[in-house]
Symmetry: C2
Subunit: 203 residues, 2 copies
């Protein structure tokens, strides 16, 4: 793609993301996207085939694909459970602050009014969490009762519910605090049972 | 209110709930509600002042007020944490199966497209969970590190996220299993530390 076309696509996508994040899908028109981006409405149809198309592109750009995810959980010098916790704060920060991620999450929540399939990141997040739990098991740092795939699935759903409900009920400024409360509640079950190692073998 | 008017209100509300649960707020018209209930469109305006009004009434009828909640967690012969777990399954079942509760949850999720404030049950649920955790503390059945109000808030948000995401991703048939996975992950942090009582005092 030519540089100029790329720049047009990007500015349309960012303008659309801002509007979707601020006012939702239903309240945003192609004319609004044109006005916010300083491009023509025709450019929205040419580059994205219209409002549904640009909405799906916004979701795919950041929320659903999470291209930086691999880098953020790949550092094997850090214990796996620590990487899992760090990753959750990274995702929470993006959901709170990055306009394209925020727009993606809002569009996913509003998917019933969008006449196109809206992708989601949950399978990707669950696979990443499963791998980290499996690595923790190999390193002897996981509670023996944890089953990585089932636990990862529950973690991802509970985590995303916590983030979206906290934002809806209290806004994003308290998100870190609420996430910390949740980890206090959740992390002890992931760690190996603390007393075992201190007791005589065979007890 | 006369019996006949009450019956009309109820049949309108149940028809609207079915439609909102099946196809969402935006896709449901006053005419649809009229057709499903066998009442006139005029009755929707007369009894509920229109589509927004009947949507809010649906949410208040079951989802946001949860009138049976008190009875379900008030039985003091059952340990408080056990009541908390039982209550979560009751709510999950209603979210999965009761059309009026389902409609309420869907309308709350779609609240941005409804031109009226949509109430939610989260403060009520959190207060109920806080009381149960406080009762568990008094009974010596709560981990000493748990702070009831903060933990209740995290529990309610994670629980609701788990239910709504499980339904969105897998449907409601697996909801009990997923809720059980989540309690396996969460309940150990609520219980008193198991080894303490078995160790000599002072350790």
């Amino acid at each position: 793609m030519q540089e100029r076309a790329k720049a047009t696509r990007r500015s349309l996508l960012e303008a659309a993301a801002q509007l979707f994040a601020e006012q939702g899908y239903a309240a945003t028109s192609v004319n609004d996207i044109s006005a916010r981006s300083g491009r023509t409405s025709g450019a929205v149809y040419f580059h994205y085939t219209g409002k549904e198309g640009i909405a799906v592109a916004v979701v795919e750009d950041r929320f659903a694909t999470w291209s930086q995810l691999a880098a953020r959980y790949g550092d094997e010098t850090v214990p796996p459970l620590e990487r899992l916790v760090a990753l959750s704060y990274e995702i929470a920060h993006a959901l709170a602050r990055d306009p394209v991620t925020r727009a993606g999450a809002r569009l996913w929540a509003e998917r019933t009014v969008i006449k196109a399939p809206v992708p989601d990141p949950f399978a990707l997040w669950t696979a990443a969490a499963t791998r980290l739990l499996a690595q923790a098991r190999l390193a002897g740092q996981l509670n023996e009762r944890v089953r990585p795939a089932r636990t990862a699935r529950a973690l991802v759903r509970a985590f995303f519910g916590l983030c979206t409900l906290t934002e809806a009920l209290e806004g994003t400024t308290v998100l870190d605090d609420r996430l910390t409360d949740w980890w206090h509640l959740t992390l002890p079950s992931l760690r190996p049972q603390p007393s075992r190692g201190n007791l005589p073998a065979g007890r």
